[in-house]
Chain length 195, copies 2
DNA sequence: TGTACATCAGTGAACGCGCGTTCACTGATGTAC
DNA sequence: TGTACATCAGTGAACGCGCGTTCACTGATGTAC
């Protein structure tokens, strides 16, 4: 059953992508190695050909998710034309607290998806998360400053309010959708438009 | 080994208190029935004399924690003298984002402690959480309005920013205390003083 | 009030189950000649 | 280029372990007389 080296690399990458999706949806402890492997089209026995442990995959998935989130914000901060940049950033913030994004928890922001879980995970996972969070906060701060909002405290409050809204909205999304919607709507109402 | 009815009731109450503490600290799935019973000074076999299942204890603990949190805010909202009330409320908000409170995760706010876990728990636990969150938001809104801050959207943004700060600060507390402190300090800086 | 017995909170061994991980095996790929 | 063999990604059964839950048992409490 030996396969091409390239095929094997693709399989590993696919497992990380699948894990990035399912860990966000169900939590690190909410999905088993066997389930992850089957969701990636493989059987569980081969897992340890690619990863030293489940913890190693958690670390890799965490880094992967933050990479994508940070890249998305940096792309906005990098827009040269100020008006266009401000509009893209406002659209980003509006999308962040939209129902659509809340309902696809598989693509959730890593801050929201992992925050509760991560402090109970082994140290390497926690460290990857902390490093990712730092990168994310810095990228957000850059985009936020470029957006023209004055005062770092105010800019950080904006981020915290967004993250708080998503966390709370998600926690009751299945059980009390009306309350969940209310929380998001209040968050949208509180968005200051781009200047 | 039969004991007094009163003694048995006290034992049950103690298990709920212990669970309220340890579920917040380690998550619903982070502590076993046996550990909970031993932490309450009992052995695990007797658990099912008091609770139908672990899930039933989770529900009871969730309600218990929200009861206490809501009572704390309502006590503030009930203060008659406006100046005194506003000061008490500001002190509450300041305490909420303090390092001291962050470092005692066993007494954490239920919104922060349970938000990540709860959406993966069985329906009764989720429902108890949703009901508790509703009560908490309403109590906070009452206290916030009595504090004199204008605009419901603004008042809710304040709550979300507080919860977001605590969630993020907690998630990196062990791994990156400096970042965790930064997040809390930014939250303190963003607190509008009572009028 | 005193006696006889049923009750039931608590105990600790045992259960089945799912988990992360290991292992012997397979067979196409990659390599040495 | 063709052949012989070593490599190793993938397979699925099996492992030990901790979990939630069950159970037979204990013995002081509560109750019926």
């Amino acid at each position: 059953m030996r396969i091409t080296k390239q095929q094997a690399d693709e399989n590993k990458a696919r497992v990380v992508e699948t894990a990035a999706r399912l860990f966000r949806e169900k939590g690190f402890d909410g999905i088993s190695v066997a389930e992850l492997m089957h969701a990636s089209g493989l059987t569980h026995g081969g897992f340890y050909n690619h990863f030293e442990s489940k913890e190693a995959l958690e670390t890799a998935a965490c880094a992967h998710v933050f990479d994508k989130s940070v890249a998305a914000i940096e792309a906005i901060a990098a827009i040269a034309e100020p008006q266009e940049r401000a509009e893209a950033f406002e659209a980003y913030r509006r999308r962040y607290v939209s129902r659509k994004v809340r309902d696809y928890s598989a693509t959730a922001c890593p801050m929201v998806a992992f925050a509760g879980d991560v402090s109970r995970q082994p140290a390497p996972v926690r460290e990857e998360y902390a490093a990712g969070l730092r990168r994310y906060l810095q990228a957000f701060e850059r985009a936020s400053a470029a957006d023209g909002l004055q005062g770092e405290a105010k800019r950080q409050a904006r981020l915290r309010a967004m993250a708080g809204a998503r966390t709370l909205a998600r926690s009751v999304a299945e059980t009390d959708p009306a309350l969940s919607d209310e929380i998001l709507e209040a968050a949208v109402a509180a968005l200051e438009p781009a200047p």
